[in-house]
């Protein structure tokens, strides 16, 4: 098997460079043009949804809407919306998934 340590070091260095990219030059971008600010505001919803939706609709690597993760996720979204509470969302989401998997 390919040795893992060189991969860890290079993947880690690249990931740090991405994290540092704009923070490293932040002192030169104190005033952001309104157009850019408008764009930056869309990053959280866009990026988070891009992580969440595939996990709910294609858990096995192909589109599948008739499986428990989508239903459990929808239920958890409702709880997240009503309570904004991570604990409640996790318990309801995980509980629903385990329950649905055993039906």
């Amino acid at each position: 098997m390919t040795p893992i340590w060189p991969v860890i070091v290079v993947a880690g260095a690249g990931t740090y460079a991405m994290r540092a990219s704009f923070l490293a030059i932040a002192h030169r971008m104190a005033t952001v043009p309104p157009g850019v600010a408008r764009m930056l505001r869309q990053i959280p919803p866009a990026a988070l949804a891009a992580i969440i939706l595939p996990a709910l609709v294609r858990p096995e690597g192909h589109l599948d809407l008739a499986q428990p993760r989508l239903l459990a996720g929808a239920l958890a979204a409702l709880v997240a919306w009503r309570t904004r509470n991570v604990g409640a969302t996790l318990i309801v989401g995980m509980g629903a998934l385990v329950l649905l998997q055993h039906l």
């Binding site: 893992i4 880690g12 260095a13 932040a26 408008r38 969440i52 919306w81």
Partner: protein
């Protein structure tokens, strides 16, 4: 000026997130070990890469006989969104020293980003922003590394018992809901999610997350630009 109160507020805000971080960290520790890598390599992944999904991708690629280059590219692609987070946070931290900003960059993960950007948007006190960020980030980092170590000891027995990977989208759901405050944000989320799924179906693999994010940003920005100026205030 570092503020202990604000650091504590950051840690408190991050505390409920631990319910999602701990199971994910256990998996990040168990996965390398159950695929024949050493426990130390799991700890190396959690400290040097410090990004769960990409850590699992590296183990997945290497354990299926993939090359180092493919594993590295998979990890980088999954973590590309960090560039977006970095760009989004930078305007708030321009007054901090380069050393502090580079230190903060190490702690940049989804949860710290989402918590900080929400907090800072409603707080005029620029001097204490980094304290909140560090409080949240250090708590998450410590928990992540600790649960990774416990995961290496528990091994694969754990991964088989519960669908722990499902904790990841659930935690992100809780981060997503509070940012859906207006039409552009909803459009950004819908475009981002749908584009990510379409890209994944088209075979984009780990790239699909960043494709979705870019599509979502474009959609949200377009809708935002069309709104009457008065609504921006």
């Amino acid at each position: 000026m570092p503020s202990l109160t604000e650091a504590r507020a950051g840690a408190s805000a991050a505390a409920p997130m631990l319910l999602g971080v701990i199971p994910f960290g256990l998996v990040a520790g168990a996965a390398p070990v159950s695929h024949g890598f050493s426990g130390w390599s799991a700890v190396g992944l959690s400290t040097l890469v410090f990004a769960g999904a990409s850590q699992l991708a590296i183990v997945d690629v290497l354990s299926h006989g993939g090359s180092a280059v493919v594993a590295i590219l998979a990890a980088w692609t999954i973590n590309l969104r960090m560039v977006l987070y970095s760009a989004s946070l930078a305007p708030y931290l321009g007054h901090e020293s380069t050393r502090r900003r580079l230190g903060a960059a190490y702690l940049l993960v989804d949860q710290v980003y989402a918590l900080s950007i929400t907090r800072w948007a409603g707080d005029e006190r620029a001097d204490r922003r980094l304290s909140f960020y560090a409080g949240a980030g250090l708590l998450l980092w410590t928990t992540w590394v600790t649960s990774t170590i416990v995961g290496t000891l528990l091994g694969s027995a754990l991964a088989d018992a519960l669908p722990l990977d499902f904790a990841v989208p659930l935690v992100f759901l809780v981060l997503l809901v509070p940012v859906l405050v207006d039409r552009p944000a909803v459009v950004a989320a819908v475009c981002g999610g749908v584009a990510a799924v379409v890209a994944a179906e088209a075979g984009a693999g780990p790239l699909s997350t960043i494709v979705g994010a870019v599509a979502g940003i474009a959609g949200g920005t377009l809708v935002d630009a069309r709104r009457p100026q008065s609504l921006d205030q």
